[in-house]
């Protein structure tokens, strides 16, 4: 009885299995066809640890195919000298892509590469192998930066030369920078009013040159505050800046002969968070109403909030930054603004030391080079646009743009 009933049931199961298998046809589709012509070349201008793998896409990798057959390409490699080595996946490229940079090679080892097309259903094609193993080549100089390096050497050479010239005793003429002249006035005014000075060294860390430049101005401000017996407050948004600022202020007080007047609690850390920092500083400004506010460093959206709050309490404000987008805000809200290079000239200008002032003259050589390149570029571009021929002039313009100002290297 049992046996007679089990037979039709197993038949039904068999039919169901056949139907399921038939229905799962699309899931078991054939894997994509492999890519072709896999080539491997050295990655130029690197330290010998990079190779570039290129291939032609699989014939099934068509941009307008719906649904898409190829989902990605797996790039695998193995050490060609090691007979027991197996291929390891080192990167994936999206469909349609034809190259991948492998920057994690070991210098001196020859690698054999293969590329596999992977379908959307994760089915894999046969592997397309590179013809031969390739080793990365170490380049001692990054050729793309040669022009940049050359111009850098000329500018640095000019700066050093002018420092030497200044040290030899020749007098150098430096124009007055109103913003830096105003620093003394601002500290003096705060002293007369019996109110404090507030120094904000920006919101970036000490590895930013703007912060370093701000700290050099702080050194001068702290010296004046010590001399005039004015209170100086320095809220910082980075712990390392706080540590550096404390050293700077302490040394300035010592230099002014008033080490007893130095209070390290006046140089304090608030928070790394941009708007948390702004809230704390503006709160201090509104409560303490400092008579002089200095904003020297890197600023972002907080620049205007700080400067407008300072304006509302009637403080004399001097700002300096190299953030072009924030300069208009400081110009609108502050009494004096050090624009870009003036800000970086602060330490040399305020110290008044001849050898430092020489560096400012050295910068002028850089301006001459920049100005010269602009004039030559404009002339060439104008002449090239007027000339009907597509020859030397347009070639010169593209060399100027792509090689001297770009990363094309020395040779065209």
């Amino acid at each position: 009885m049992t046996r007679s009933t089990s037979h039709p049931q197993s038949s039904r199961l068999a039919v169901l299995a056949v139907l399921l298998l038939t229905g799962s046809g699309p899931l078991a589709a054939a894997p994509p066809r492999p890519p072709s012509q896999v080539t491997v070349t050295d990655l130029p201008n690197d330290d010998g640890t990079g190779l570039v793998v290129r291939w032609n896409v699989s014939p099934d990798d068509k941009p307008d195919a719906q649904p898409r057959v190829v989902g990605q390409y797996d790039v695998e490699r193995k050490d060609a000298a090691d007979k027991n080595a197996e291929f390891e996946l080192i990167g994936e490229a999206n469909f349609g892509e034809t190259s991948l940079e492998d920057k994690k090679c070991e210098r001196g080892i020859a690698y054999l590469y293969r590329v596999i097309a992977v379908g959307l259903d994760k089915s894999k094609s046969e592997a397309a192998m590179a013809a031969k193993p390739v080793t990365g080549v170490l380049q001692w100089i990054d050729g793309t930066r040669l022009w940049f390096g050359l111009i850098g050497v000329v500018v640095c050479g000019a700066v050093v030369s002018f420092i030497r010239i200044a040290q030899s005793g020749r007098e150098l003429k430096i124009r007055k920078i109103a913003g830096l002249e105003a620093v003394d006035e601002a500290v003096g005014r705060a002293t007369e009013m019996g109110r404090s000075c507030l120094f904000v060294p920006g919101i970036l860390d000490i590895n930013d040159m703007q912060t370093v430049s701000g700290i050099t101005v702080l050194s001068h401000v702290a010296g004046l505050a010590a001399e005039y017996d004015a209170q100086l407050e320095v809220p910082t948004s980075r712990s390392l800046v706080m540590t550096t600022a404390r050293e700077t202020v302490q040394a300035a007080y010592l230099k002014a002969g008033r080490p007893d007047a130095y209070n390290e609690d006046n140089v304090y850390y608030l928070t790394d968070e941009q708007f948390g920092y702004v809230a704390a500083v503006t709160g201090t400004m509104v409560r303490d109403e400092p008579a002089a506010c200095f904003y020297m460093g890197a600023f972002f959206a907080e620049s205007l909030i700080l400067a407008e709050t300072g304006n509302s309490i009637g403080a004399i404000q001097v700002a300096g930054t190299a953030m072009p987008s924030q300069l208009p805000f400081f110009v609108a809200a502050c009494d004096y603004t050090l624009i870009g290079e003036e800000f970086f000239a602060a330490s040399a200008y305020l110290s008044g030391e001849v050898h430092q002032l020489g560096s400012l003259k050295g910068q002028d050589v850089g301006k001459l080079i920049g100005g010269g390149l602009i004039v030559i570029g404009c002339l060439l571009a104008t002449l090239a646009s007027l000339s009907a021929e597509d020859g030397g002039l347009s070639g010169a313009v593209s060399y100027l743009k792509d090689h001297i100002l770009g990363d094309g290297g020395l040779l065209p």
């Binding site: 100089i141 930066r145 550096t244 702004v278 870009g340 850089g366």
Partner: protein
């Protein structure tokens, strides 16, 4: 000695970073130098936290002006630290389900995430939103037509602001097309005077030229200052020359 060692370190690291830009072999040295900076910054972060607590606890104990804000600061600092370190509301990670603390402290739904999402972000957004009012008050002062330069600035700003709105295009596009058609038989003849085109010209030529001049000055300033710091010519950031 106190000045010489930092100067030597600054010079060494600085030159390594410069070399790493031009010599591919030295790129890893540059990366190592930056990792060292991060490690130092991490130590300094503890110092910063300790300083924050010290300053505000002193303010509270001496009940100086604004000590109430210090109470809020210390409370916020402590709560954030406890919730973050204690990983409140964090579910264990899939890799180590047996350890309660194995989950990420920033995972969605955790106490730290909740504070960030519903306390910190709204507060930061509020501060950022204040900027709109400050821009208005600063613009009011900056654009006062008190001299020739200020008048030029005012007119330019008016054109740029208007040209970037739909009204600016609407006001000039059709009338200029009609005028061009009437005078020259070509509706595009006067298209260069459309406000949106004028704005593009102001931003792309005058503004860009000024910006680039500032950028070149900044780049040269950075080069000169960096060189002075690396060569030890400028030691003012260390506080004194001694």
């Amino acid at each position: 000695m106190k000045r010489t060692v930092p100067l030597c370190i600054a010079a060494l690291v600085g030159f390594v970073l410069i070399l790493s830009e031009f010599i591919p072999f030295a790129q890893s040295w540059g990366r190592t130098a930056m990792i060292w900076f991060d490690i130092l910054a991490a130590f300094a972060f503890v110092l910063g936290g300790a300083n924050l607590l010290k300053i505000h606890l002193l303010k509270i104990s001496s009940q100086r002006v604004g000590w109430g804000y210090s109470v809020i600061t210390v409370a916020a600092f402590t709560i954030t630290m406890v919730i973050g370190l204690g990983k409140f509301g964090v579910t264990p990670s899939e890799s180590f389900p047996q350890f309660t603390w194995s989950g990420d402290y920033l995972q969605d739904g955790s106490g730290f995430w909740w504070m960030y999402q519903y306390v910190y972000l709204p507060l930061a957004s509020t501060m950022f939103a204040l900027l709109a009012f400050y821009i208005a008050s600063a613009a009011f002062r900056a654009f006062r037509a008190k001299n020739t330069e200020a008048i030029i600035l005012l007119v330019t700003a008016f054109i740029v602001l208007l040209g970037r709105t739909y009204a600016g295009i609407w006001l000039t596009a059709d009338p200029l097309a009609w005028l061009g058609q009437t005078l020259y038989g070509d509706p595009q003849a006067l298209a260069m005077f459309r406000l949106d085109v004028v704005v593009e010209m102001i931003m792309g030529v005058f503004n860009m030229a000024g910006n680039r001049a500032i950028m070149i000055g900044i780049a040269l300033g950075i080069v000169a200052l960096s060189l002075k710091v690396l060569l030890g010519v400028d030691r003012s950031y260390l506080g004194s020359e001694e």
